[in-house]
Symmetry: C2
Subunit: 495 residues, 2 copies
């Protein structure tokens, strides 16, 4: 028979910009999602899992202007026979699918509709260090309510969520702002020229980076940036720039002071006054629920997302410091953001539907908890029952069955048992806490050897210390006491 | 200003062959996956979450033979600049990605590598009723062990898993067979012609449907099927067909009888004897672990998957009866299958790596539990605090905060509060157990009204019965007793 032609071997590689998650990385995220879902559920939100695939038409935003609508999304065209050549794409967030689902099922869904969703989203972007093309989002939105109580509720829920997953009070703050206040400020300034308005908005977006003085310069004549380049200013007079700076720096010692400062900044602007009234309402509702300024504050310096949202915006920031990759201290920063947007469903139905919601960056939150040592990076492995005599595999299986029935994570060594050293190396690689050994002698005497691998490693690392030497890390116990002894060692290790 | 041109509204539709999952559908699956992961973890398996996207090259199986490799998978071509024009695809199962991951990371992974994976997979197939293009798989595989203990362990784990998710012993059976035994049977028959061999294999695949007599006819001269059409037979003599029928019907009252029957069927075939020895080993190991024939049996009539796998195959079947869509009784059938396959990693590395694993159909298992009434199809909604006076929203928020802090799922009504009837309709749509009402009078008297909505609905449905009329479904309690009374009603409803 002729040998089949050899085809070159495929490369075993994760596609560029994607990654695999192993062991504790997966289980810790699963646990965090479960905890977050628990809070969302307690607040009356319902789970929704929409399909990962949407028509490009329903996703919107990325409509094809060329042959291939793959800017920003992963998209493909259905073959003519089963999809009439429709373009399909992977969802790029969880909000666009919510809009589609709500428009499609609005007659069956309650109004208001509180829903949460968690799962991967995909972005067809140039991958960079730490930037992946598939990542998790974890959203909660209330569709169909114009009430500020909906926004206040989301802020309270965000605060509860952070504390539930392990960020203690004092290590985070939820900041609230309102797009309408900014609109009021712009109205007060009386900028007739739209180009100038846009330039002011872009400048406000830089407040995080350049601060009050930087914004003043950029609104006026311009500014030398750190690299020595001169950035042209918007060309406003100091008087004209006043309301913007008053807005950005209006946060006072308490909510009342902040609100008073804001009222001064927006003057007689109706939309501005409305925005401030909304912020006051949110503040009152949160205070009534017991959410004080140690958790949620009105902060006009929150500018991220102001362009996208139509009313209140909110952001959760972790306030503790970490060391960045260059060893410099910096605040951990934002882990969640959201706000009110009112054109969610309109593109489908023509009807305006008010909505407000939040998205939590689960992977960033996990990174924060690991950074603070609040979750272990390595998971404890299973108890390993070693194989001394391959013909007695049934005996070893009976041991692991006993251990598992007692709720103890356990496995029998399934590799080639010839070299016993390999079995202990395997246990080490698995991060196993305990190894069980039963050779012919033990069998004859009705006993097993139980090795405390954690203590054993500590003794090995500190071999010169007398105190270690005296502590045994291996025990011989009656076969009948296997489960009890293993449980005892595990409890000691955990304590 | 000129009005922007109107573009036609996009359709709000789930893409063809996809669906959305709401509320309990999502949470029940999440809970089931958590329970299954718990068992897998206890057996020493490690979580793995690979990317949903793979290169078509790594996925294999569906290599492009035309311009567009979208047969069976959803695939697209990367743009030249960021992926050198590689073809990418959504994974169609969790085994192909495991092969890629193991080949890529084999130097860092323990050997043997026990891993579990759960998540959606995608198939580019013609959608049909109840057949979706995105569905969940839930796999566990052991890579790098040739030991039958690995197969026995997977069978035991499958049995434990089914009981853990709520299928009691007696309502399921795990059946084990071995491809090598069939190979031995074919060898014994001495079929020289490959076409005839294939025809025999195809006939064996029909055993489930046509039974022993049907297979005998199809191996011989042929058979009239139910529609009256005559199906040509393979053309074997009764003597020649004997071993196949002996193989298929060799299951005896106990494992020893089955094994003896199988030995007769394979005669002197070396591969056949090896297959039977493997089955015996698996049986011994399972018996040692306490897994008797009430849970796991050796059953040569398991033919599904015999073509794909290289050694042991296993299948979990639910044995209780359900009514199908036509009202006929039938067995629920298979919810899981797996087996040993040894060419997993070879395409990447050239090295043969033995592997064995199982896949659980989570959605079918959920359907089975719903069918048996073991999980509720509708979830209990939140307690709804109604809004009698929109200016006192802060008071209502304080009530829900109290309820939530006591661990009770609760929300305030966020729609337009004008029409109180709409608020109760909303509570009904949410499947709420309790509504809380506090109008001006209640406020003045320091009390709240608490409506038991479940009892209320029962009374409404049985309005003529005196006994119902006498039971109150609405209580007035002191505001301070809100949480205690709600908790009491919820406990009564649950009991």
């Amino acid at each position: 028979m002729a040998k089949p032609k050899k085809t070159p071997r495929p490369k075993a590689e994760t596609p560029k910009g994607f990654r695999d998650y192993f062991g504790a990385e997966v289980t810790q995220r699963t646990e965090m999602l479960r905890d977050i879902a628990g809070v969302y559920h307690r607040y009356g939100f319902e789970a929704l899992e929409s399909s990962a695939v949407e028509t490009v038409e329903a996703l919107g935003k990325f409509l094809p202007d060329v042959d291939r609508p793959n800017e920003g999304v992963f998209a493909w065209q259905e073959s003519e026979d089963d999809g009439a050549g429709d373009w399909m794409a992977l969802r790029y967030d969880l909000t666009a699918p919510l809009a589609r689902v709500y428009a499609q099922h609005r007659n069956d869904l309650p109004t208001p509709y509180r829903r949460y969703a968690m799962g991967p989203v995909w972005r067809n972007e140039k991958p960079g260090p730490g930037r992946y093309r598939q990542f998790y989002q974890c959203d909660a939105d209330t569709v169909g309510s114009a009430s500020m109580a909906a926004d206040a509720e989301i802020c309270a829920m965000l605060s509860d969520t952070l504390e539930t997953v392990g960020i203690p009070r004092g290590d985070y703050v939820v900041r609230v702002n309102n797009r309408k206040v900014l609109n009021g400020v712009l109205e007060t300034m009386g900028l007739a020229d739209e180009g100038q308005r846009d330039a002011v908005l872009r400048t406000i977006d830089k407040f995080d980076k350049v601060g009050e003085d930087g914004v003043r310069e950029l609104l006026g004549k311009g500014r030398l940036d750190a690299s020595g380049a001169f950035i042209d200013g918007v060309g406003l007079s100091d008087d004209q720039a006043g309301p913007v700076l008053a807005f950005l720096t209006s946060r006072g010692a308490d909510a009342a002071t902040t609100v008073a400062n804001l009222r001064a900044a927006v003057g007689a602007s109706q939309i501005g006054v409305q925005g401030i009234d909304e912020l006051e309402q949110i503040g009152d509702l949160l205070a009534a629920g017991g959410y004080g300024p140690d958790r949620i504050v009105i902060d006009p310096s929150v500018v991220r997302g102001l362009g996208y949202y139509t009313g209140p915006v909110y952001e959760a920031e972790l306030t503790f410091e970490i060391f960045d990759e260059k060893g410099r201290k910096r605040q951990f920063g934002s882990v969640s953001g959201g706000g009110r947007y009112d054109d969610l469903v309109k593109r489908f139905t023509g009807q305006e539907v008010p909505a407000t919601g939040v998205s939590i960056g689960v992977d960033r939150l996990l990174a924060a908890l690991r950074e603070k040592g609040r979750i272990r990076t390595a998971e404890r492995g299973p108890v390993v029952v070693t194989v001394m005599d391959r013909d007695r595999m049934a005996d070893y299986q009976a041991m692991v069955a006993e251990l598992r029935n007692a709720g103890i994570r356990a496995e029998v060594y399934l590799g080639n048992p010839k070299n016993f050293g390999n079995q202990l190396k395997y246990a080490d690689k698995r991060n196993s806490p305990v190894a069980v050994i039963e050779g012919g002698d033990e069998r004859a005497n009705g006993v097993v050897q139980i090795k405390d691998l954690i203590l054993g490693a500590q003794i090995a690392a500190n071999a010169t210390l007398e105190e270690w030497k005296e502590r045994p890390s291996q025990y011989e116990v009656a076969r009948a006491d296997l489960v009890a002894k293993v449980r005892e060692i595990l409890a000691e290790q955990a304590g």
